[in-house]
Amino acid sequence: VSIQQDFGGFDPSFLGVTLRFGNERAFNFYKAYAASENPLPVSHLSSDERFEALSITSVMAHETRHFHDFFLTPYSARVFGKRVRMLAELLQMLPHLVRDGPNCMPVPLVKWCALNEQQRATQLQWLPPLPDGVSWIPVDVPYMEIGATMPADAMGQLLWATFRLRNEITDLAFQPAGHANGQTIQPWQIFELPAILVQINEILWTYGETQAGFYVSYLEQAESNPYTTMLRRTRKLWDDRDRLMDTTIANAMAAWSLLGSYAKDQWKACPTERYAALWLHLKATGIPEWNDNAGELFQAWSTALHLSTVQDGMNEARQSYANTQIAIDSKADQLASILGSDYSSLLQRLTSGVSQASQHMVDAVAGDLNAYIATDAYTHSVHRYVNPLLRKIYDGGMLAGLSAEEASREPGNVIEWAYEQDGRLLVESRVEPYNVSPHTFVTAEDALEFSRLSALGDFLISDTDRMNLDVQRTASVFFRDSHLRPFEVFV
């Protein structure tokens, strides 16, 4: 039996949560679970299938926590701000890049720009020949050495700014000290800790201790996955003292690690750095007992480690999201003059919605920190937080019962990807209504359009995220009717 182990995904290029179904058994279980008033039995299932079933029933809790953390954390706010600014720079370049004349687009541009004439010619030699002896003519972008100063021409300046923002995102996202001996602890993995703790708590509430214990054991047997790594590392603090891990204290550790202020601590605000410092501190001084006072606990850790407070971090996140909105507003006229008003309005609506969502989350969490930290209290407080959009992806449009015509008749559904098979248009992904709270700040249509723009940006610029299926698919649609063929630069 091929078991799907990972059903979710949070990627801030889509401002909601994503559920991905890779086999029909998993989808059928999800449908039955959603339709049932009581939890479906799982104890009769084989070990693998039981893990799959428990994952399906709890994945929304996991992804929703990622979604909420996104609006609270300075790390996410910084990455988002740089991504949006990078996209704005890229959009200004787009008319120049796709103009008539050239017939191919080297990607990622960051690699192509670093190649000299001879190196570029070598890359072109490996493209299959065009009919009638036509030559490959790449888009005209300047040579730019890594670390170069800002060029004088407008196109060069846009590229330079785009690459600089991209490098800044890489600096934020990758912590070299966290990568050793084939294991890695990067900022995004710190985000996994609260999400998996909330998910385990969801299973505990729905199915009880036996199934929650089974789920954790199954996870820990996995050779390598991000959840296991973080759980093991965190639990070691308790294991070394022959104690059972307190999930609320573990969740508090994750929240404190994520909520550092870069303005106050510079690189020491990196979630990996804060987590490592806190872990060592607790190892040396002992693990506190949970006393229903997250604020006091956080303050004690910040004081002991001479690092910024959680309130500093949340305030910085809120301000950072507001600054991104201001930056886009200030560029709106310029963007509109180059691309028309559609894209500039989209970016304005989106950054405004995200800024409002951050404001709402910071107010809600600061108003009751305990509710965000105690995993069971969090589960019962989501109605006070921002409501996530829900996107479902059905790999390969596998479910014949889901034609685009039928799906679009269902109120509130917005189809993202569909394809034709045997005369029917099958849905591969769509956004569905999901209302766990009344606090919604971004529409499904805007979130999907922004997701497509981000994917196109990643395809043109990024040398890591480009393998993502959404990125590849968006690019293939964008270039399908274009006179340009994209080709990969191998360096």
Binding site: S2, G22, W126, T184, E488
Partner: protein, 122 residues
């Protein structure tokens, strides 16, 4: 008779990469490793492991697409039996093919993928 060559990028775990490199050592005239680098955070490429290897190789001479597709399929098949979520990315300048344990790919599909990006050298 015309000969073809292919420039291919492969992103995979070290076991798959070692098999590829061993083949290059055994057939130096037909398979050349042009560059190799570690992907510093392969989890961002969708790999479960921290370390993945990115190799650019030139396939030429006596290795045709069918032969090389059989090799790739064999390495892929052997590794995915041992690992629940296994993935290899094959990329030519104009196309990308992802071998993923959740998405079945046949040897014939790999062959077609390779053939579509080959260039004539003679």
């Amino acid at each position: 008779m015309s000969e073809t060559a292919l420039r291919l990028k492969i992103i995979a775990d070290s076991e798959f990469a070692d098999a590829l490199k061993a083949e290059a050592v055994a057939r130096p005239a037909d398979l050349v490793i042009e560059s190799e680098r570690n992907e510093k955070d392969a989890t961002k490429l969708g790999f479960d492991l921290a370390d993945a290897v990115s190799i650019v190789a030139i396939v030429k001479g006596a290795i045709d697409a069918a032969t090389f597709a059989a090799k790739i399929y064999g390495w892929w098949h052997d590794s995915k039996k041992k690992k629940p979520r296994y993935k290899v990315i094959l990329q030519t300048p104009l196309r990308t093919l992802e071998l993923h344990s959740n998405i079945p790919v046949t040897q014939a599909e790999i062959q077609r993928f390779l053939e579509a990006s080959a260039i004539k050298t003679k």
